[in-house]
């Protein structure tokens, strides 16, 4: 009897994640979709975000998010993959024991602390070094985001490299390839799906990051389409929600639009994560079919 009761509650707990995901979706829809009745779609996807004057164009915010996310991934990618290769293929055991916890420490640093250092150290440095009017720019945000997404990329790419069968490496060495040629020509290409997953999840991590970006990007909702947009202030979707939600009356148009931006973020993160896991899942089932 007691056993049955326990199994029941464990089962209910097991399904809780589905429930919470649905609840998040329902409440975002509930608070966000009224925006579509109050502001036309054309206005929502316009280029002017100025809520006080009732301009709710979200394009500058979407553009800001895209700019810093893509730039950050381009910066993080060589560092993330390079570090993963070093840890998985080259580093002696002793160095590995130091590197891996350090990467984990990066993942554990609160983003508000990175934002703080960004304001006090990174932005003034960039301002001086690049001779800019302000260091609080898209580029500063991208650098912090790159740092934030590196642990995600390293750990997934590392797993992907470990998953490459040892026999591949042995075969390459036996055919006369050097250790480096084996890594570059065999191991890394064999792990490419895992690397792809790492990139996608890194993008997801960057896109959703809030505090660090909000603190260092200068918060100017301008569509970043100029060649020097990297070195101008921008504003992301996440930063807009975080900085404006505290000041709006619940139930106002502005409030609904902020929730609508939340829906966009939620759906983007859903697409990224489900695709990434689907890619991994497909690869795994193919491997099982082979073996």
């Amino acid at each position: 009897m007691r056993e049955k009761w326990i199994s029941r509650s464990i089962q209910i707990a097991g399904f809780s994640s589905i429930l919470f995901l649905l609840l998040i979706f329902i409440f975002l829809i509930r608070e966000g979709t009224p925006a579509l009745g109050e502001v036309s779609l054309k206005e929502i996807f316009n280029i002017r975000w100025y809520p006080i004057e009732k301009y709710f164009g979200t394009l500058p915010l979407i553009g800001g998010s895209l700019l810093v996310t893509i730039t950050s991934i381009l910066i993080a990618l060589p560092f993330g993959i390079g570090t993963a290769v070093y840890i998985a293929e080259i580093a002696p055991e002793g160095i590995k024991q130091v590197l891996k916890p350090l990467i984990e420490v990066i993942a554990g640093i609160p983003s508000v602390v990175l934002g703080f250092i960004g304001i006090l150290v990174l932005a003034p440095f960039l301002r001086k070094f690049l001779n800019l009017p302000t260091g609080l720019t898209a580029f500063a945000g991208s650098l912090l985001l790159a740092f934030i997404s590196i642990p995600t990329i390293v750990s997934i790419a590392e797993d992907a490299l470990y998953a490459v069968p040892q026999s591949y490496r042995e075969a390459a060495i036996a055919l006369g390839a050097s250790h480096w040629e084996t890594i570059w020509g065999i191991t890394l290409p064999a792990a490419r799906t895992g690397v792809l997953t790492a990139v996608m999840l890194g993008i997801g991590r960057s896109l959703g990051e809030t505090m660090a970006v909000m603190m260092v990007t200068g918060n100017a909702p301008v569509l970043p389409i100029k060649w020097n947009s990297w070195f101008l202030p921008v504003r992301t979707m996440t930063a807009t929600i975080a900085s404006e939600m505290g000041e709006v009356a619940s139930g106002s148009v502005h409030y609904h639009v902020l929730f609508f931006i939340g829906i966009i973020l939620f759906i983007l993160s859903l697409i990224i994560n489900v695709t990434a896991s689907w890619v991994t899942f497909k690869k795994r089932s193919r491997e099982q079919a082979v073996s």
Binding site: A13, P78, V112, V154, M245, G262
Partner: protein, 290 residues
């Protein structure tokens, strides 16, 4: 012919040396910022550390005094998050590892966990505002903030619990069941104790993240300034991460030592959780007999 061969092999070695050097440099440059950043904060912030700083509320528009209410607030929020997320995450992890069959529902649960893990933290904040603060009328409170952080932490705890349970060999379960133990008895007395270090590591890492988060508590429970401690779970509270955001962006003329001191306190809090988790894991790995 022979000389040619020798030539390529030298070139090969040179390429390899350069490649290894490059990769080493990349790894070094990746961890350099974190080491120097922590060192910098320790140097800049340690001068501020004093009993007064840790035990007094802020005064004079936060430009003097300490950060006591923010420290207590972060402890309360972390505890609140643990109360909700640990039992639920543990049970969910047990379900997926020990009970769930490989069917559509289980696959859906997995997708849900992965999706929850990827939801941006500020979206959790919106959700907490919509559900806990407004719909359930908990208000901007410790309760709302803890519940929001719990749901954000849940996927971490579920995944690490599942992974820890799965690493316990199947023969342990088979032997226990063949000796007449029920499934729950097997889980409770055989599997869980073996997986415990892994589970605890996961819980600590999940809570570490919750303790440092700002975006989910911005509109659900964090307060700009409160001289007194919260009296019930329906009160808002100060918290270290939000306090750092406030004093570094919202208060003009904020003394720099207080800013670095506050960051150092949060860093010590978070990094010691990280260290404990790492030690538990390393220790368990050494002791493991299977």
């Amino acid at each position: 012919m022979n000389a040619n061969k020798k030539h390529t092999s030298i070139q090969k070695q040179r390429t390899q040396k350069m490649g290894f050097g490059l990769v080493w440099l990349i790894a070094f440059l990746t961890v350099l910022p974190i080491v120097s950043m922590i060192g910098y904060i320790v140097i800049k912030g340690s001068g501020t550390m004093s009993w007064e700083f840790l035990s007094q509320p802020p005064s004079h528009g936060m430009r003097e005094g300490g950060i006591y209410p923010a420290i207590v607030g972060t402890l309360l929020l972390t505890l609140g998050t643990a109360i909700f997320s640990v039992p639920l995450g543990l049970a969910a992890g047990i379900y997926i590892s020990e009970y769930a069959k490989d069917n559509l529902w289980t696959r859906l649960i997995r997708i849900a966990i992965i999706s929850l893990a990827g939801v941006p933290s500020v979206v959790y904040g919106l959700f907490g505002l919509g559900l806990f603060v407004l719909f359930l009328k908990f208000g901007t409170s410790i309760l709302s903030a803890s519940l929001t952080l719990s749901i954000m932490t849940l996927p971490v705890i579920i995944s690490t619990t599942e992974e820890a349970l799965r690493s316990v060999p199947a023969r342990f379960r088979i032997v226990s069941r063949s000796l007449g133990a029920t499934q729950w008895q097997t889980i409770q007395r055989i599997v869980l104790p073996q997986a415990l270090p892994g589970i605890i590591t996961g819980i600590i890492l999940g809570l570490e993240r919750a303790a440092g988060e700002t975006a989910p508590i911005l509109f659900t429970g964090a307060a700009f300034f409160l001289p007194n401690l919260p009296k019930s779970i329906f009160d808002a509270t100060m918290a270290l991460p939000y306090h750092i955001f406030v004093i570094s962006t919202q208060v003009p003329g904020m003394p720099i030592q207080i800013q670095y001191g506050t960051v150092l306190v949060l860093l010590i809090f978070v990094l010691s959780m990280n260290l404990i988790a790492t030690l538990i894991r390393a220790n368990a790995r050494k002791k493991r007999q299977w």
